[in-house]
Symmetry: C2
DNA sequence: TTGTATGCGTTATCAT
DNA sequence: ATGATAACGCATACAA
């Protein structure tokens, strides 16, 4: 009824139907304070009857403001991102922005392409855990407001996790339980997040007099964690801190396959807290509050877009250890590691 | 170097720099076959030097084609969607489309708003598991090409899962193991997907002479599944088919809390296969191939946009049972349920 | 308070 | 094969 044909009416049709100029219709939707309440109301009524909706494309071309933001992530399917995306989306929505989602598939060059391709369609970018090199990031940031998540580049607005606090708590927790030898199973070496976490782990371990070995997981995935288990078992560690929850989960699976019990034979600590209590046993992990990170990034971007200013804010989100059930005291005899079940008898 | 200032050059600047008309520059990027190879190359060179990128907004306004598609989902954080989104995103990218992501937060009215707000900026929609009522969906579909995922509305192009096949296999599998009383823990009653699955379960159970009780999980989440457990234990079922993997996982957690062992005391079957083997024990589930659904939906939309035709395709993606470790024969004595541990002694 | 006229960057129509 | 020019739908100086 409201829309006789498939086409949505334009501002011109509303104007003539309401007996006003196009400018008045425009103002009705963009700057109603310039109009008499009566006019606005009348125009609104006509517009509603006709099913008129301001054309955002035309608006964008005219004003230079797209009303959109872009969120670019390395892998949507990584459980770290959905909560972040969800929260960002919700905040953007409140602020009246629609969001483009880009998945770079962990490839820096894909990030670069996405960034340039949609630049004209968005007012700003949020780059989550970008793999792109610093120089390129700066180039893009020079064109449009750009917020970084999980990457600390001087001079750019960014939202970070307080990795140090969480990791320190985790290592202290393990030390308190009596662990002396622990492993850090790392994520992508090129990842800033990984470097931060590894560095923090090394520092905390040193301070507490623990030995820490780093074991690479080629990919920050379940499979990556699983694949790291053989090398993990070649060491004599009694506890493992994983790059993230996904890797931790993979490690747990790999251990289970080999009959190594968690936490009896090996304590595990994850990072991110995105699996909640959804592992078995429920995972002890460092909560990174990724949803909050997403929300804060959008807020930051919104402020920049509103003010036109360019504050190089550096938001740090606190992290903290959440102790669940994958950590406990090490077994008495740590000697015969490598064949833990045999050693137990 | 390539970009002296923050602003990207317009077609006019490229034109004058290359000593050609704006039309020629335009053709260089949209219809190069109309130009001499020499001209295209020359213009391209100048454009590259200046850092020119065609402005998609202006393009959209001029052509009516936005070069974008919208993907709307009820909840990004539901593990069913990330693989779907990821696959859709990848396909869209190949076809040169950027994608808007909308999260309706399971609210029909939010879907409605998103749909109308973004309409002008996209060439078509993909609506995954829409909660919106059929009439409204049709209204939107009349304006722009719209593909449905997980919703069967006559006359609209849609991508569905062959729920019947998977559920039938699941029930048959349980029957074969010796289960006689099974439960279906349902998802959102308003959800078409839930109705399909429940219907299929009822039908399959009847055919095999099993009794099936339906137990509601208010929300299709981990918590929802967990909350359904008390009611589940009040019945005398020995096996449960859950609305989806998330609910199944919640049920497993709820059972574990109460000392009910899976699969010894209760067999569990999920749906979707999005948790892979990431539960403990690894979940027996119906694989729904949601990534493929996302990809197919984009392909379908692409075809429609290319051809301008409006084929009301109905793509059905096969599903099949994946047996892992949460299903086994029922315990001998089923009498004293409700306090399964006591009964065991 | 409202109307008039111009421009946003591009494509498409019509010439040449 | 290329150039001139009018849309596309809207916002906004400027005028009234």
């Amino acid at each position: 009824m409201t829309t006789p044909k498939n086409r949505v009416p334009t501002i011109t049709e509303v104007a003539s139907a309401a007996g006003v100029s196009r400018a008045t219709v425009s103002r009705t939707f963009s700057r109603p304070e310039l109009l008499t309440p009566e006019t606005t109301e009348r125009v609104r009524a006509v517009a509603a009857r006709l099913g008129y909706v301001p054309n955002q494309v035309a608006r964008a071309l005219s004003t230079g403001r797209a009303g959109n933001i872009a969120l670019i992530v390395p892998d949507i399917a990584n459980p770290f991102f959905p909560p972040l995306i969800r929260a960002a989306q919700a905040r953007a929505d409140e602020a009246g922005y629609a969001v483009f989602l880009g998945d770079s598939d962990e490839k820096p060059e894909r990030e670069d392409i996405l960034l340039t391709k949609i630049a004209a369609q968005v007012d700003g970018f949020i780059l989550a855990s970008p793999r792109l090199d610093e120089q390129r990031v700066r180039v893009h940031a020079a064109r449009r407001p750009l917020i970084l998540i999980n990457r600390d580049i001087e001079g750019l607005p960014r939202v970070l996790m307080d990795v140090d606090a969480g990791i320190t708590q985790a290592i202290a927790h393990l030390a308190e339980l009596g662990h002396r030898h622990i492993a850090y199973v790392s994520g992508p070496p090129a990842s800033w997040a990984n470097q931060q976490r590894q560095k923090a782990a090394v520092k905390a371990a040193k301070r507490l007099g623990l030995t820490l070995v780093a074991i690479p997981a080629n990919h920050p995935t379940y499979q990556g964690g699983q694949a790291a288990v053989p090398e993990l078992l070649r060491t004599d560690v009694t506890a493992t801190v994983a790059f993230d929850d996904l890797v931790a989960q993979g490690i747990m699976a790999g251990l289970a396959e080999r009959g190594v019990q968690v936490p009896r034979d090996m304590s595990i600590v994850g990072f991110d807290d995105v699996l909640a209590a959804r592992t078995y046993p429920p995972l002890t992990t460092v909560a990174a509050h990724c949803a909050e990170a997403g929300a804060r990034a959008v807020e930051l971007l919104g402020e920049i877009l509103q003010s036109g200013r360019h504050p190089t804010a550096r938001v740090v989100i606190p992290t903290e250890l959440v102790v669940r059930a994958t950590t406990s005291q090490p077994r008495r005899r740590q000697a015969g590691r490598g064949k833990p079940l045999a050693a137990a008898s």
